[in-house]
């Protein structure tokens, strides 16, 4: 594993392709802003994980109750989103405890691109435990929560995200444009001072690579994402 390029170092958020290290090594939380934003979070988590450029398998753990509510992952949808479903393992957990157990096992394993888990809630102890599991393997773990998620956490940060009306399609003004999100950095361990900031994010699907761009020119205060290869050439807007 040591031969693989370690693209991300969990340092200050400015150098990361995604704001404040979402998708980089460590535990990150994504929570719905309101009921119905779960698919938006699915896309955001995948985009973040994809943009870290890590290779290897992807483990997606889902809780049965949430899967019934929001549907299951679609392989062709993933392929369209730039994620190869052929390297993904899906774990079907019954309850919250099973999700946490599976996530812990997956985080201990080396050589994974990322672990993504959907669960309804967890306590501080569980988040600390997952953080320790991630430490040795440096596997990114993204947890997706419904809007009811609150309370203390030992994760790197918690984002509260929702879907945002898209810009018009380039070729057809009546069609939906690229997926867009509004993400609020609710908690951050790396940059506690930045908590509460609002980010408007947009997905670029013209190239096979995902990128997060802004429709508007970046403000001077906005941190710049780092480029990965030729694909990632985006800026994002910091409105907070």
């Amino acid at each position: 594993m040591s031969l693989k390029p370690d693209i991300l170092a969990p340092v200050a958020g400015h150098d990361l392709p995604f704001p404040y290290g979402l998708g980089a090594a460590g535990v990150h939380e994504l929570a719905e802003a309101g009921f119905g934003d779960f698919p938006a979070l699915t896309g955001l988590a995948l985009a973040a994980v994809r943009d870290t450029g890590r290779t290897g398998g992807l483990v997606w753990i889902r809780q049965a109750a949430l899967a019934r509510e929001h549907g299951r992952l679609s392989g062709r949808g993933l392929a369209g989103f730039g994620v190869d479903p052929g390297r993904m393992l899906l774990v079907e957990a019954k309850g919250r405890m099973e999700v946490l157990q599976a996530a812990e096992e997956a985080c201990r394993a080396s050589g994974l691109a990322a672990v993504i888990a959907e669960l309804d809630d967890m306590d501080f102890t569980a988040s600390r435990r997952l953080g320790l599991a991630c430490e040795a393997s440096r596997t990114p773990l993204v947890l997706i929560f419904p809007h009811t998620r609150s309370g203390a956490t030992a994760a790197q940060g918690r984002w509260r995200a929702s879907a945002r009306p898209s810009a018009p399609h380039e070729h057809d003004a009546r069609a939906p444009g690229r997926p867009a999100w509004r993400a609020i950095l609710e908690k951050s361990r790396l940059q506690p001072g930045k908590a509460g900031r609002v980010f408007d994010l947009e997905y670029e699907d013209a190239t096979p690579c995902l990128r997060l761009v802004s429709r508007l020119a970046a403000r001077p205060a906005a941190p710049q994402p780092r480029r990965i290869g030729a694909g990632l050439a985006g800026v994002w807007r910091d409105t907070g």
């Binding site: 119905g36 698919p39 549907g71 392989g75 393992l89 929702s162 009546r174 939906p176």
Partner: protein, 508 residues
């Protein structure tokens, strides 16, 4: 080689006791204990007649299902003598002991051992050991009280069976009656008989054939394979416990000794196994077992112990464990652990072996069939276009799968489309607003339609509404959430009433 033992009744005590079954002509005795037999009560007798012969006769209705279950349970426990074991009839267990008797100190010592163990458990037993199944059956069922012992060898087969009653050949009642009419009551009387002449005496060729087949099988002239209760494992190792294990920790320690032994044997054969079974034979003639599976063939003892880690809690040592057995099945070549260096450097593709190990660890904690993969299927229908399959060590190949087409597919898909209430601007256009899960969504932008025709070559209708074409739209509501909805059918397409709307997926 095979030995068979008769089991059932509660024969303890001096009171005559019988099991009865309701027949067409009232209650009949189906089994009787020794006390009842000495009073002249035989199976087949009417219960009223039996009562007159033994006035203090106690009786219970027979429960054949429970009997069969108990017999099978006993047979499974008797696997501690041999893995090839079968249940025959209502009261017999067949064991293939080929090449195994020396492990128990020879054939006689083994029979003594079996008899002692079963009698101690309160099971009256008759044993027979012979080179053929048929002969062993005859010895066990008919040899008691005759001068033939319970055991015959290859040379003694023909003379040993000669004096036994004809019933030892496992013949039907009609055939036995017919043979008795000819004056043929001992098996030996059939040895020198003219087979064609015998066949002519029977009313049908098959009835005569059955008699001669059974005779040939008993004498080893025709093969009779044993159909075992369980398929014999590919490899197995055993750990006898001289002192019965009473604590679950003992089982854990025993497994820790069995696992390296089994893995050593697998490695010596150059293979690994995907299914493992740990069985404990308890001193009260019962067996408990747990199974564990691996995604790919493995022969690593530590990995094997991980597979069983959370499952041993289900094993209750009961009154003590006398024997532990670890079996391996589903063997196959073990893929080498090392990956080619260029693949590592290029970083293409996941580490399949590493994923398989991880899947096993998760399976060991959460239970079987929880780790899945998305398998592409050649179908246009979204709900049939991919299959959620159990991960078996092979990752699916999506590179060569048919591309989803120009229109985007949603990230999340509902297993079954959910019904919508829709207001559309024009009958065949995209919706203006729709109600899903009692919430009104105003459509801001819409894209479509993408028409997906039903698969007419498949038998039977599928999905809601069956054979109507679907027009899929990608719509975005005022909050920016994107949905994949479809209208099933068109106005006036002649395939049912007005079209219906459904939601099938959610976009990011």
């Amino acid at each position: 080689m095979p030995a068979s033992g008769a089991t059932p009744d509660d024969q303890a005590g001096d009171t005559p006791f019988v099991l009865t079954e309701a027949g067409r002509n009232g209650l009949r005795v189906v089994a009787a204990n020794d006390a009842a037999r000495s009073a002249g009560v035989e199976p087949g007798l009417r219960f009223a007649d039996a009562r007159t012969r033994a006035p203090e006769l106690a009786a219970e209705p027979v429960d054949r299902a429970a009997d069969a279950q108990a017999l099978e349970k006993l047979a499974l426990w008797m696997e501690c003598w041999s893995p090839a074991i079968a249940v025959a009839g209502v009261d017999s267990i067949l064991i293939d002991m080929t090449g195994g008797a020396h492990l128990f100190g020879g054939e006689d010592a083994m029979l003594d051992h079996m008899e002692v163990r079963l009698k101690r458990a309160g099971l009256p037993v008759r044993l027979g050991l012979a080179p053929t199944l048929g002969a062993a059956w005859a010895l066990a069922h008919e040899a008691s009280g005759t001068k033939t012992g319970r055991r015959v060898d290859e040379a003694g087969l023909k003379p040993g069976l000669a004096d036994l009653p004809m019933a030892g050949l496992r013949l039907s009642d009609a055939s036995l009656t017919l043979l008795r009419r000819f004056g043929l009551t001992r098996i030996g009387q059939l040895y020198g008989i003219d087979r064609k002449a015998l066949a002519r005496r029977f009313h049908s060729v098959s009835a005569a054939d059955a008699v001669l087949t059974r005779l040939d099988q008993a004498l080893g002239l025709r093969p009779e394979p044993l159909d075992p209760l369980r398929a014999p494992p590919d490899h197995s190792v055993r750990l006898p416990c001289p002192e019965a294990l009473l604590h679950p920790d003992g089982i854990r320690a025993g497994l820790a000794r069995l696992a390296p032994a089994l893995c050593e044997r697998l490695e010596a054969h150059g293979e690994g196994a995907r299914r493992f079974r740990l069985a404990i034979f308890r001193s009260d003639q019962s067996v408990a077992a747990v199974t564990a599976g691996a995604a790919r063939p493995v022969h690593d003892p530590t990995h094997l112990l991980t597979l069983f880690r959370d499952r041993l809690d289900g094993l209750d040592p009961g009154f003590g464990v006398e024997l532990m057995e670890l079996e391996a099945a589903g063997t196959g070549p073990v893929t080498p652990q090392a990956r080619p260096l260029d693949a590592v450097l290029a970083g293409d593709g996941p580490d399949a072996a590493g994923l398989a190990v991880l899947a096993d660890r998760i399976t060991a904690r959460l239970g079987d069939r929880v780790v899945k993969i998305l398998q592409p299927v050649e179908s246009h229908l979204p709900e049939r276009g991919e299959d959620l399959a159990v991960y078996d060590g092979e990752l699916p190949d999506w590179q060569t799968a048919t591309p989803p087409g120009p229109a985007p597919r949603p990230l999340r898909l509902f297993e079954r489309p959910e019904s919508l209430e829709v207001i559309a601007e024009i009958p065949d256009g995209p919706p203006m607003r729709f109600v899903w899960r009692r919430i009104v969504h105003r459509v801001r932008r819409a894209d479509g339609p993408e028409r997906i025709a039903p698969e007419w070559w498949r038998a039977g209708a599928s999905g809601p509404g069956g054979r109507r074409a679907r027009d899929y739209y990608r719509v975005e509501d005022e909050e920016g959430r994107r949905y994949w909805i479809f209208r099933e059918g068109l106005y006036g397409d002649g395939r049912g009433g007005p079209p219906a709307w459904f939601i099938h997926g959610l976009f990011a």
